[in-house]
């Protein structure tokens, strides 16, 4: 019973990640509001990160895989034995890096969105387009002190 249900559940998880990615991409490109775009972008990167963790997971013949932490220091064979039953720690390290980068990018985008709201009074890209199309006049670059 459990032998056949584990691959089934893992497939369900994988498919839900992919569906999540597609929905997030729809949100990024189709929603007009910048705030919703940013929310969709965080969903997108979180789905990617979960997928990366998922790739590091492995089924160890009917057992729950161990976390990749060495606890038995005294046994010299400890790390070698752990490597046989533990999940892969490297995708977790990659995801950690990706999360930190994602945090920086999200903060930056939130800040720019606030600034857009201050200048234009809206965060809808459709309205932004209309406003920018309206005042087409030559805006000089800020070269004058």
């Amino acid at each position: 019973m459990s032998e056949s249900i584990i691959p089934y559940l893992l497939t369900v998880v994988f498919v839900s990640f992919v569906i999540n990615l597609v929905i997030a991409l729809y949100g990024i490109f189709a929603r007009p509001t910048l705030v919703k775009k940013i929310i969709a972008l965080t969903i997108f990167s979180d789905s990617l990160n979960s997928l990366a963790i998922f790739v590091g997971y492995r089924v160890v013949s009917g057992r729950v895989p161990a976390p990749p932490v060495v606890v038995n220091y005294t046994n010299p064979q400890g790390p070698a034995q752990l490597a046989k039953v533990a999940v892969d720690p490297l995708p977790q390290a990659l995801v950690l890096t990706a999360i930190v980068i994602g945090l920086a990018v999200t903060l930056f985008m939130v800040k720019v969105t606030m600034q857009v709201y201050r200048v234009y009074g809206t965060t809808s890209v459709r309205k932004l387009e209309r406003i920018e199309h309206g005042n087409r006049g030559e805006e000089d670059e800020g070269v004058v002190e």
């Binding site: 940013i38 790739v55 980068i101 990018v105 800020g142």
Partner: protein, 514 residues
């Protein structure tokens, strides 16, 4: 393990220099200090990259292992001739741009500007030097975040802000997809090291590393999916057809010196990653050798043609000089990708040569247009004001003729090489299309020339032009020299491409024990 310290120190030094700069704002308020800091920091980086370039030319592939871990374990940096050459070009352009910025930027807050400029250089040099494809992701993000910040540098202008947020959203999706590709490759190959990946892809499971093991699952499907995802990032970075739309929105809204970096440095990375992934890692001898690889190349070849077409057509109706240069870049990068996707050494040589012509040519145009913006404005007819300074006007003429492709400049020889490479490969239609597209773009370049020659020459503002004059003269000299001495350049580029195609050497140099 013989390592070259300069390889490892350059990206770290640039990041340290970028982060240290804001600290000085606590006790120094003088703009000139930050200008000097930027110029000196970029100058040191230029010297180091020149040293790496000479070492690679003299002794072959240079390596550096962070933390001393043997290669597949830690982060390894591995520089071959292509990385060293493009790294030298990138740091040269960034150095020139910092000097130009010291003349151009007269706004408050330049300290953040120079910090972000050094961040862009750190990211691009990191991508070009690294031998670890997760590190490529990190360095792409370093580059991207600095670039998003620089686009929104004029934070009181609504257009800059909306261009920046658009670029940031689409750019994060592109780098996110590259991260997905990294995960797929790691899942199939069990490694993050490019040399290790190359060795495993070449031997198709025959090579088993003592640390990273062999292949897992269906490696062919995984690498095809990963490559398809990487292509999104590459076409985004190089502004190739479906992903070119950000460039004409972003480049005109960024400060002009930064626009020069966008078209001259950021574009280079897409080309580098393309050659690295399609020819070094997944070479014709690798597990991805069959029809799939051919489909990839033909598909991207068509995208290159479409991109060159769109660039040339839209070029003709522009009235804003910065938007004009942006579409000109789309046009030229389409040509570069037409060469790169031929699958022959000759094609890649032509593509790289055209890339150099594009980098120097478009940067030169931006430096000239920046002067026109200072003196008057940014429409094509405002370029007439440059007639007051014959050297800068001559520089603009050289830049335009180079991009259009007239002898004796680089653009002519690179388009000629491209034409010949297409014919040798048997792509007659592509060869004819190069001529047709060049003919279409003639209207646009001629309009810019007319604006320069017949536009009103009265300046609105006065300015001392000695700094841009020296810069424009220098880049003009580079374009003429690299065009006149094209036999030597082609000879060198042949060596570069030979090394990039030699997956065996790349893999042997990066895997420990060798």
């Amino acid at each position: 393990m013989d390592v070259n310290v300069f390889v490892g120190i350059l990206p770290l030094y640039l990041i340290a220099a970028a982060f240290a700069l804001p600290v000085f704002t606590l006790f120094i308020k003088d703009r000139r200090f930050f200008e000097g800091y930027g110029i000196v920091a970029a100058g040191i980086a230029l010297v180091i990259s020149a040293k790496v370039f000479m070492d690679v030319t003299r002794e072959g592939i240079q390596k550096y292992y962070f933390g001393g871990f043997p290669p597949p374990l830690g982060i390894a940096y591995e520089v071959d001739k292509m990385g060293a050459l493009l790294g030298l070009v990138a740091s040269l352009i960034v150095f020139i741009t910092t000097v130009y910025s010291a003349w151009f930027m007269r706004v408050k807050g330049v300290e953040w500007y120079y910090a972000l400029l050094l961040g862009i250089e750190a990211g691009s040099v990191g991508v070009l030097y690294t031998g670890d494809f997760f590190n490529i992701f990190v360095m792409l993000e370093v580059l991207s975040i600095s670039a998003y910040g620089l686009v929104s540098f004029y934070r009181w202008r609504g257009k800059s802000l909306s261009a920046s947020i658009e670029y940031a959203i689409v750019g994060s999706v592109a780098t996110g997809l590259y991260f997905l590709a990294v995960v797929f490759l790691y899942g199939a190959f069990g490694t993050l090291n490019l040399a290790d990946l190359t060795a495993k892809a070449m031997s198709d499971g025959g090579y088993v590393n003592q640390w990273s093991g062999g292949l897992f699952g269906n490696a062919v499907v995984a690498s095809a999916v990963a490559l398809a995802l990487t292509m999104w990032t590459i076409t985004f970075k190089s502004a190739i057809f479906p992903n070119y739309f950000w460039l004409p929105d972003v480049v005109p809204e960024a400060p002009t010196p930064v626009s020069a970096i966008f078209v001259a440095v950021a574009e280079v990375l897409g080309v580098y990653l393309f050659v690295r992934f399609m020819y070094t890692v997944f070479s014709p001898q690798s597990l991805l050798s069959g029809e799939l690889r051919t489909y990839f190349l033909v598909f991207l070849h068509i995208l290159g043609i479409v991109s060159a077409f769109i660039g040339a057509l839209v070029l003709n109706i522009q009235s804003d000089a910065k938007k004009f240069i942006a579409y000109s870049t789309v046009n030229q990068m389409g040509f570069v990708f037409m060469g790169l996707t031929l699958g022959t050494k000759e094609g890649v040589v032509a593509g790289l040569y055209h890339l150099l012509s594009n980098s120097f040519g478009e940067a030169l145009l931006f430096y000239c247009v920046g002067v026109a913006i200072w003196l008057k404005g940014r429409s094509l007819t405002d370029a007439g004001v440059l007639r007051r300074n014959p050297v800068i006007a001559a520089g603009l003429v050289v830049g335009l003729l180079n991009l259009f492709g007239l002898p004796p400049f680089m653009g002519f020889f690179s388009k000629y090489m491209l034409f010949k490479a297409c014919l040798d490969r048997g792509y007659i239609v592509s060869a004819v299309l190069i001529l047709v597209i060049t003919g279409i773009s003639l209207i646009g370049y001629a309009r810019f020339l007319r604006g320069l020659l017949s536009g009103p020459s009265e300046a609105v503002r006065g300015r001392n032009l000695i700094v841009p004059l020296i810069i424009v003269a220098f880049i003009t000299a580079v374009i003429v020299l690299l065009g006149v001495g094209f036999e030597y350049v082609i000879h060198y580029l042949n060596g570069v491409v030979k090394m990039a195609f030699n997956s065996g050497t790349y893999a042997m140099n990066g895997v420990y024990p060798p």
